[in-house]
Symmetry: C2
Subunit: 346 residues, 2 copies
């Protein structure tokens, strides 16, 4: 019996994620427990560790990236553990604060933390997880721990700025001199999504005492992966199958989000663009309007541009992997992870 | 002409605060500017750096503590600068988030950040200042920077926990087995107020390469100072002169806050306690009720207890200073700072 490529990819990711979770989750649980009974209860709710409900928390993408980076440079996965767990702490702190900021009432199919426990509790558990990430990294006594912690602090500045830019975009017009430009979108997406993936990969490599050039390459790899993910997510936000994405059809258009396909469509000089701009400015009221807008974005080339950008950044990931010398299984795991993240699982 | 003690104390504090501000403020401004235009504008608003308004931001207590700690061990004030600025960043991040949590609409006589710029902006600038404190400390390249950053992360965990306990106290009854005990109050106050003062003093000393025993003593000193401050603040919160405190008379009683004088009064077995408990449980509706409650707290010995606790912790500060060998001016500056903080400026 031969193993099909589907199974091979799936097995690689399942195995890497399993290693990452197996190492990271017990540590995360200890850290959350140590926050004291009130915060621990809220943390357990967010992470889905309450015993009375079946629940799967996240995909552990960032911990998996960190341990693969360690394995890439010949270190055991445990070498990257503090970076893996710190990235997951910061990821979850960001989700909890972002849900307050965006008034998102749902997270992973359940009430978000602020909705379930109130805004004060959500602010405080976020602050506690943020500080815990630094406490964890700095408490390891590893030679590169301080450098990795500094890397995390710099990434945090980027992440917050990405979120600020994203909010700011919402208040800007669809066209004219104040409209969001493609390079602004790229900077926002890199900061908001790429910076933490870059930290996970580069921080994992750095803790595993990879050479500085390899650490830099992992940083670039993480940024490409973040951008590939964001471009794909923006396409799915308009044209994704609601049964798969769990979001309403044309969801991002409905919410008036300034996503890549729309920004790219508006940056063209096409007849479709001329019809699209006033439609968006007036506001899309019904399904017919949403459908027309989606068609015009596609006609103007916005969808194709976003898909090409996703491919370009996925190629960037591949080039980073090419420039690093690593065991074949690790490389294949990275590729499989990247493909999964942008929904191209074979 | 002889200098009166009043002038002497005042001059010492003014001089130390001047040194602290002169070093810290330019660095803080650079850090806030580097957050990007949107966050920088919000940060400048909070710190009062907008040029078009006369405004004094805070008393720079924590930076002053940090640089005095460096001077105490014979180092120049600049040795403690990263700890001084990090403490001020974290102090202000806490104020901004706490104002959201407590729904406080005013800060330093102006609308608080969330009130002026919205909750999302207030959450994000807080998160940015939090991360910036770590970025600053870890970017110094000083030998003890990582240890000081770890000290800050541990302090952050305490600070968040103190805030959580404070919120939790509000939901508990005034008497019975669920009532707040004196030792719980002490733990809350030490975490909420003492931990950051302890970080400022100990972190400043540690950056200045003080011996570990001196660093520990500065940590204890900061905790005593925080508790002395909190005990005094609780007394002023009930009996303080509104013209001086800027708060309404009986303010804390009006808000139903579980402060030290009330908790101490309720922990006694006095006739006044027997009358006070049902009064508090029913809720204080009018000025007559507030006045009576304040009298009963005093009669049961709650006020005296809180004042004795403040004195005891001030003595603790003095004992810490006694056990350290430092220049006389520095010691006098510490004493003057402690006296100012608990409103005993001669």
């Amino acid at each position: 019996m031969t193993t099909s490529p589907v199974t091979a990819d799936h097995d690689l990711i399942a195995s890497a994620t399993h290693r990452a979770r197996g190492l990271t989750e017990p540590l995360l649980r200890n850290i959350v427990e140590a926050l004291g009974p009130s915060l621990a209860a809220i943390g357990c709710y967010h992470f889905g560790w309450q015993t009375d409900e079946p629940y799967t928390a996240g995909k552990a993408i960032r911990p998996t990236m960190a341990i693969l980076a360690a394995e890439a440079v010949g270190a055991p996965p445990s070498a990257a553990l503090p970076a893996a767990a710190a990235a997951e702490l910061v990821h979850n702190f960001s989700l909890i604060h972002d849900d307050i900021i965006d008034s998102d009432e749902q997270r992973r199919g359940r009430p978000s933390v602020w909705k379930a426990h109130g805004v004060p509790a959500a602010i405080l558990i976020g602050d506690a997880l943020h500080a815990a990430a630094f406490e964890l990294l700095l408490g390891t006594g590893r030679p590169n721990a301080a450098a990795v912690a500094e890397r995390l602090a710099v990434a945090m500045r980027e992440i917050v700025n990405g979120q600020v830019q994203d909010i700011e975009f919402a208040g800007r017009p669809w066209s004219g001199p104040q409209a969001v430009m493609l390079d602004e979108y790229q900077a926002m997406a890199e900061a908001k999504t790429g910076a933490l993936l870059a930290f996970a990969a580069a921080g994992g490599a750095q803790l595993a005492e990879a050479p500085p050039s390899a650490v830099r390459t992992f940083d670039v790899l993480g940024r490409h992966l973040g951008l590939a993910f964001q471009c794909t997510d923006d396409v799915l936000g308009i044209w994704g199958d609601p049964a798969v994405t769990g979001k309403p059809v044309f969801g991002d258009l409905r919410e008036g989000k300034k996503t890549l396909p729309v920004i790219a469509a508006l940056a063209t000089d096409t007849p479709a663009r001329a019809r699209l701009a006033p439609l968006l400015t007036e506001g899309l009221r019904d399904d017919a309007g949403l459908r027309l807008a989606a068609e015009l974005v596609e006609e103007a080339g916005g969808r194709k541009f976003a898909e090409q950008e996703a491919s370009r950044h996925l190629t960037g990931v591949g080039e980073c992997l090419d420039s690093l010398d690593m065991p074949d299984t690790v490389r294949k795991s990275f590729e499989a992870l990247a493909n999964t993240l942008i929904g191209r699982t074979r």
